[in-house]
């Protein structure tokens, strides 16, 4: 029964490309990743190409609804919302990149040491992870932003140094499992040192976790960056960030200017989803445990 169900099991995201005949599941997964990457690349390219002049103040074009000339409309200062959104999104992606890179490094170091350096280290590290998970994430971000006096620095450091916990747990569990595997035991018995075994037999197995974890951290980091900015802690109001745009839009809601909030938020949703799709499909590709999902 399980064999049958493994065959009929619906593949998670690659169903969108079923309309193209002659593609197998692997090709569809690759296509899914490629198209998501394309969306993200397009956003970054567009933000570089779009002129800063468009987000300057134009009082003759203020409060316009969405049109062909201004896809997302304009705000009360006549700034083009499409340009602001695209530039805000690429800023979000950059912050997400920093946060993911920092988190992955911290998680790898802590996860590896927790699982290889003995019981005391393991206890201390799980205790630290629990400490960070004890505070609601947003409260921790507010606290850090406050400590650093707000501004872009506070947001970036806050987002970068609070996302490593869950990945640390995953890596720790993975290393613990690998450590008791036979090939690791044999290597130890043959006289190889702890570090040699860790680098040659455990680390290579962590590479998939590492990459998937890296990509899947983006959604969290980006959403948290937008949230903390929305609350007013982060980037200055002149910077085009999605959080800033939405918190400004809040003041103009009752005037019926729905496009100020609708399109920027939807774009953020699409970007976050794109990272999610890349991460999940990457997992399908490189993680043998999920290869048949």
């Amino acid at each position: 029964m399980s064999e049958i169900s493994a065959v009929t099991r619906d593949s998670r995201n690659s169903k969108f490309f079923k309309f193209i005949p002659g593609l197998n599941r692997r090709q569809r997964t690759l296509l899914m990743i490629a198209s998501s990457v394309l969306v993200l690349a397009a956003v970054i390219m567009a933000s570089l190409l779009l002129d800063n002049e468009k987000i300057a103040t134009h009082f003759d074009e203020k409060n316009l609804g969405p049109s062909l000339e201004h896809f997302f409309g304009t705000d009360w200062l006549g700034r083009d919302m499409f340009t602001r959104t695209v530039k805000g999104l690429s800023l979000s992606i950059y912050i997400g990149l920093i946060a993911s890179a920092v988190s992955v490094v911290i998680a790898l170091v802590l996860g590896m040491s927790a699982a290889t350096m003995g019981k005391t280290v393991d206890r201390v590290i799980t205790w630290i992870v629990d400490l960070f998970l004890g505070m609601p994430h947003l409260v921790a971000l507010i606290l850090i932003a406050f400590t650093l006096g707000g501004g872009a620095k506070g947001v970036i450091i806050g987002v970068a140094f609070t996302h490593w916990t869950s990945l640390t747990r995953v890596i720790r569990a993975e290393v613990l499992q690998l450590r008791s595997a036979e090939f690791v035991q044999i290597s130890r018995h043959m006289g190889k040192s702890r570090w040699w075994t860790a680098f040659h037999h455990i680390l290579p197995h962590l590479v998939p976790q590492f990459f998937v974890g890296f990509v899947l951290l983006f959604p969290h980091a980006i959403l948290h960056e937008a949230s903390i900015t929305f609350l007013g802690f982060g980037l200055s109001p002149h910077k085009p960030a999605i959080g800033v745009i939405l918190s400004e839009a809040m003041k103009y809601l009752s005037t019926g200017m729905w496009w100020l909030a609708f399109f920027p938020g939807l774009s953020l949703l699409i970007i976050v989803r794109a990272f999610d799709i890349i991460g999940e499909n990457l997992r399908l590709l490189i993680d043998p445990h999920h290869a048949h999902d």
Binding site: D130, L143, T147, L231, F233, L253, S254
Partner: protein
């Protein structure tokens, strides 16, 4: 035997939580005292010119800001142990009172959202797993995956636009109507103001629990005992009721308790969007306006809130799940 081990378990957990809370006190105090935000400056605000340096020094002395951070931490810790968290600068009231009052509002909001998202998410997960592969399953899965990527505050803004601005069904914000005395606020008023924020949190909250329940039930449905039950001719809701429900209810309840941290974070955002006067809004205000005692108090309180949820989840697992009980006895 079981009770003794449970007792030991709770004691051990409590010691761990206390050690974590103590560390959290120290950590947050160090963080806050290194902030470049000058509390006197934040307190005085725009009236800078009207306040002389002597007066500023007096304010600093009044709050004990002239002492060294270590001294202040000891003082703060001492009074904290006696249940005194200091006085909030922006609300001009004891921090404990502010938190108590705000928590009641937040508790109503979070409680509704918590229960609603738990029940709805559980039902959605069951429906998706029972009708696996159908359009309903696909719809629920798509909905949950999309919702997991949705910014809470944006959803709140959308609901505001649709229900308050366009349809005019609900007020735009605040916990109670503006310009009405506290005594005259009716229950209906309160309900009217809580629906949209609670709805926002619930819509987001179902995603996690629904996906989790779906996966669990799918695993159960693939098991041998279900195969046997099907062979006997059981099917549909009866099969679910007899063999599935108990296996998936416990993980769902535990997950729901363990998700209090996210719920708190979500309520900070929802309260900000709907200007609902709860803990989240107080946290944001304390952070933005440099109210150190209140910020510290709220950080601690939110941590206790999260730890309590996790502890309850652990205890339920220990107490209710017969498999874990057996594992303990061996």
């Amino acid at each position: 035997m079981v009770q003794a081990s449970l007792f030991k378990f709770i004691i051990g957990k409590s010691i761990r939580i206390i050690s974590l809370l103590a560390a959290l006190c120290l950590l947050s105090f160090v963080l806050v005292s290194h902030s470049p935000v000058d509390p006197v400056q934040a307190y005085v605000g725009a009236d800078m010119a009207k306040v002389s340096p002597e007066q500023r020094a007096k304010i600093a002395e009044h709050w004990g800001l002239d002492k060294s951070p270590a001294e202040r931490f000891v003082l703060w810790g001492k009074s904290l142990l006696q249940g005194d968290m200091g006085t909030s600068m922006i609300y001009r009231a004891p921090v404990t009172d502010v938190i108590k009052e705000r928590f009641q509002a937040s508790l109503a909001l979070m409680g509704i959202a918590w229960a609603l998202s738990g029940i709805l998410g559980f039902l959605m997960g069951i429906a998706a797993a029972m009708l696996r592969g159908s359009w309903l399953d696909k719809l629920i899965k798509w909905y949950c995956l999309t919702l997991a990527s949705t910014p809470t505050f944006w959803l709140g803004l959308l609901l505001l636009i649709i229900f308050s601005v366009w349809l005019g069904w609900f007020p735009v914000g605040m916990g109670v109507p503006a310009g009405v005395l506290k005594e005259n606020v009716t229950l209906a008023n309160r309900i009217n103001h809580i629906i949209l924020p609670a709805l926002t949190l619930s819509i987001i909250g179902v995603a996690n629990i629904a996906l989790h329940t779906r996966q669990k039930l799918i695993d159960v449905l693939e098991s041998d005992y279900i195969l046997f039950a099907r062979a006997k001719g059981e099917a549909g809701l009866k099969l679910l009721w007899r063999h599935g429900l108990r296996n998936i209810a416990l993980p769902a309840i535990t997950l729901q308790f363990a998700s209090l941290s996210e719920l708190f974070g979500g309520s900070v955002l929802a309260e900000q969007v709907f200007s609902y006067p709860g803990l989240g809004q107080a946290t944001v205000q304390a952070g933005l306006r440099g109210d150190l005692p209140l910020l510290l108090g709220l950080v601690l309180f939110s941590a206790i809130f999260v730890f309590t949820g996790n502890l309850i989840a652990d205890i339920i697992y220990k107490l209710v799940d017969p498999r874990i009980k057996e594992g303990n006895a061996i």
